[in-house]
């Protein structure tokens, strides 16, 4: 417990019950996001302060349909409630969140929780939606039937939580000390739970209402056999279009700030070694990463809005058949889509896949989806080597190459998944049982909180692993200094050149020169670092002129076309991201699978880059 909290309250509920929105409404921005030790189930804790001044730590547990754990998420929920979760003290009370628009579906979990005999209360969420649909629930009757206190709340409007907060502050103390409610009448089998839930729901429902019209109408369009997939692909196209075009302006601003900062540092710092470290190492390196923040935020904005609106589950429905072709199911689509932003949240999103084999397969192929960190590498090489002209009248050749690299990654991911599911991870096809939640207007505060958390994770990466690798690279390429009377550029004599020349024996067959080999070393930390590293290597290895001309022009003169294409293809596969491997280790909890991931990706990178090199060489001579 963080000091000062009088109570610990665990939020429990089915997925899609609006639990996280309620959590945000109760705790505002005051929340901590981390992980439970040993598993990568996200741990979200926030502080709620009641008007009377009581501090309550609210723990947002992962959504579960039942207490019989089927997935890692459900296991954590189960263990926290029973006080058996490492890294979490047992909660003083449970707040079970129930969607008022589908009581019968949500009540079995309430009954199961009640059987545990812990202090608990129930809150009816989405009361506004229920009212809109004409559903009327007798809260008193529900409380009587359940034998538990029931409070109404509306998570999406903050004002609606005041009744809940008041009840919490007045009842938590008595609830904590009260003997557990009598649970002997609750059935222990699933059928019985279901029946009892339906009986209670009927007893507490005054008016059944009519179905949410918007959901019905929207689904007729979005889940239409032909229009549905067309709209999905249109949305995905719009998303990628937005990532490139909307991000352009803020990226220019960041670029200008970096240049400005470099100029300032150059003029203010007298010591040449320190100046070089700051200007060429730190500012250039970290700047080259921070520049992707706009693209990542735009991609996540789309993903968060699609999720909050209820559309994402429809996308999984529409993609299910395609995913079934490689032995996965529609659920794997969401992690793979997130991986276009970054494989880390993608791999973490695979937690919602209940089959262990499907989850492992999804994690293994997630790094093949073209993440935004590859963009700078692709953009640099394409700008340098692919002519900026139109093919077939209207389509830009550069854009076409970029698009094919994306398709190449997707095809590779599907192929690897198909192979894994037929060999190492063979098993019976897993059923798809997916809830399609009601459509909702996304709550912008929730979206903003989600975006803020992503931005923080990304910036922490830029400040940590990337900063350190840039400093190390700078040191490697600056020391030892060139001997007096040296004829070659200084980097030629540095430790980096040594390493690069050593590695070159491995990479020469696929067309890489020693400069590329050097850049691959810091590029192991994160893909986007390779651009900065190439900048550092070539800026340091050339004359003043080389620094003046742009990196793209430098590369055009230094590399052949086969080398450039080979380098592009290398980046489709190579697992050059320590954070991804670290997250894969945590999620799979297995070194074997982590090494397998790194190994197969490097092997494919080497084979395909080599093939590209020799084929291109054969064609252009």
């Amino acid at each position: 417990m963080t000091p000062g909290a009088a109570y610990r309250l665990a939020l429990v509920g089915n997925p899609n019950c609006g639990k996280s929105a309620l959590f945000n409404a109760l705790t505002g921005g005051r929340q901590k996001v981390g992980n439970y030790p040993g598993v990568t189930v996200e741990r979200r804790v926030g502080r709620l302060r009641t008007p009377s001044g009581i501090a309550i730590d609210v723990i947002d547990l992962p959504g579960s349909y039942s207490l019989t754990p089927h997935s890692a998420d459900e296991a954590v929920t189960h263990n926290v409630i029973l006080g058996q979760q490492e890294g979490e003290l047992p909660p003083d009370a449970i707040l079970c969140v129930v969607d008022a628009t589908s009581l019968a579906f949500h009540l079995p979990l309430v009954l199961e929780l009640k059987r545990l005999g812990k202090p608990m209360l129930v809150t009816l969420n989405m009361m506004d939606l229920a009212e809109r649909d004409g559903i009327r629930i007798d809260t008193a009757a529900l409380a009587r039937e359940l034998g538990l206190p029931v409070v109404g709340s509306v998570a999406v409007r903050k004002a609606g939580t005041s009744e809940l907060v008041e009840t919490l502050s007045s009842t938590l103390e008595t609830l904590k000390n009260q003997p557990p409610a009598d649970a002997s009448a609750i059935p222990t089998d699933v059928r019985g739970l279901r029946r009892e839930a339906r009986r209670i729901a009927q007893a507490a429902t005054v008016s059944e209402g009519r179905e949410h019209k918007v959901t019905r109408v929207l689904d007729r369009v979005f889940l239409h056999r032909v229009a549905g997939p067309a709209i999905l692909f249109g949305l995905l196209f719009l998303m990628f279009q937005a990532v490139f075009s909307w991000a352009e302006t803020p990226m220019t601003w960041i670029d200008q700030s970096v240049v400005g900062l470099q100029a300032l540092a150059s003029s203010e710092i007298a010591n040449p070694a320190l100046r070089s470290l700051l200007v060429d190492g730190i500012i250039a390196g970290v700047g080259s990463v921070v520049i992707f923040l706009p693209q990542i935020l735009i991609l996540f904005l789309f993903i968060l809005v699609l999720e909050a609106s209820g559309y994402m589950a429809r996308a999984a429905f529409l993609m299910d058949r395609l995913m079934a072709g490689v032995g996965l199911n529609g659920r794997a689509f969401i992690p793979l889509l997130s991986s276009f932003a970054c494989a880390i949240p993608g791999i973490m999103a695979a937690r919602t896949i209940d089959s262990q084999r499907d989850r492992l397969t999804t994690i293994m192929v997630a790094p093949l989806m073209t993440c935004s960190a590859r963009l700078p590498v692709y953009a640099l090489i394409i700008a340098a080597f692919i002519p900026d002209r139109k093919v077939w009248g209207a389509v830009g050749l550069q854009g076409l190459v970029m698009f094919s690299l994306y398709l190449f990654g997707i095809a590779a991911a599907l192929a690897v998944a198909a192979v894994l599911k037929r060999t190492m991870l063979r098993g019976a096809p897993q059923p798809l049982l997916l809830e399609l939640p009601k459509y909702q207007m996304p709550n912008w505060r929730d979206v903003a909180i989600g975006l803020w958390q992503r931005a923080r994770i990304f910036m922490r990466r830029a400040g940590g692993i990337i900063l350190i690798s840039m400093i190390v690279l700078w040191a490697l390429s600056s020391f030892p200094p060139p001997p007096p009377g040296a004829t070659e550029p200084p980097i030629f004599y540095s430790a980096a050149a040594w390493v690069g020349k050593g590695l070159q024996t491995v990479f020469a067959p696929i067309g890489f020169n020693w400069e590329i080999s050097v850049a691959l070393i810091p590029g192991l930390a994160a893909r986007e670092v390779a651009v900065a590293a190439l900048g550092t290597v070539y800026a340091l290895s050339g004359s003043e002129d080389a620094v003046a001309t742009s990196l793209a022009e430098t590369l055009r003169n230094a590399w052949t076309l086969p080398t450039a294409l080979s380098f592009l293809v290398w980046y489709v596969f190579a697992p050059q991201c320590l954070s991804t491997l670290a997250v894969a280790k945590r999620e799979t909890n297995s070194w074997r699978w982590t090494f397998f991931m790194a190994g197969y990706l490097f092997a494919l990178a080497y084979i395909f880059a080599g093939a590209t090199y020799w084929i291109t060489k054969g064609i252009v001579g």
């Binding site: 349909y65 039942s66 579906f105 699933v190 279901r194 032909v226 299910d320 058949r321 096809p429 399609l436």
Partner: protein
């Protein structure tokens, strides 16, 4: 389980049809699948409305149960025995 002339599997139904669950085809369902299907509401007497179906092989399908819309594949839907309601 009262099997009648109107007994079908849920997997054989098309959008617009409504039905009532009479049970699971025991021999075709593993205990885990049975638990999950029951958990999601495919229990005896549940009223179901078939809503949507996918493009290829009309798979998967979306049905409404207990006020919630669920997606499932024909393969699993074929293990759920239902009695089809007469068209209104």
């Amino acid at each position: 389980m009262k099997v009648s002339a109107n007994t079908r599997t849920l997997g054989s139904l098309r959008p617009g049809q409504t039905c009532r669950v009479i049970g699971l085809a025991d021999q075709a369902v593993s205990p885990e699948l049975e638990e999950r299907l029951l958990r999601m509401g495919f229990a005896e007497d549940a009223a179901i409305e078939v809503r949507h179906e996918g493009l290829f092989g009309r798979d998967p399908m979306a049905v409404k149960v207990d006020g919630v819309i669920l997606a499932l594949r024909r393969r699993e839907a074929d293990t759920i025995l239902v009695e089809v309601d007469a068209p209104k």
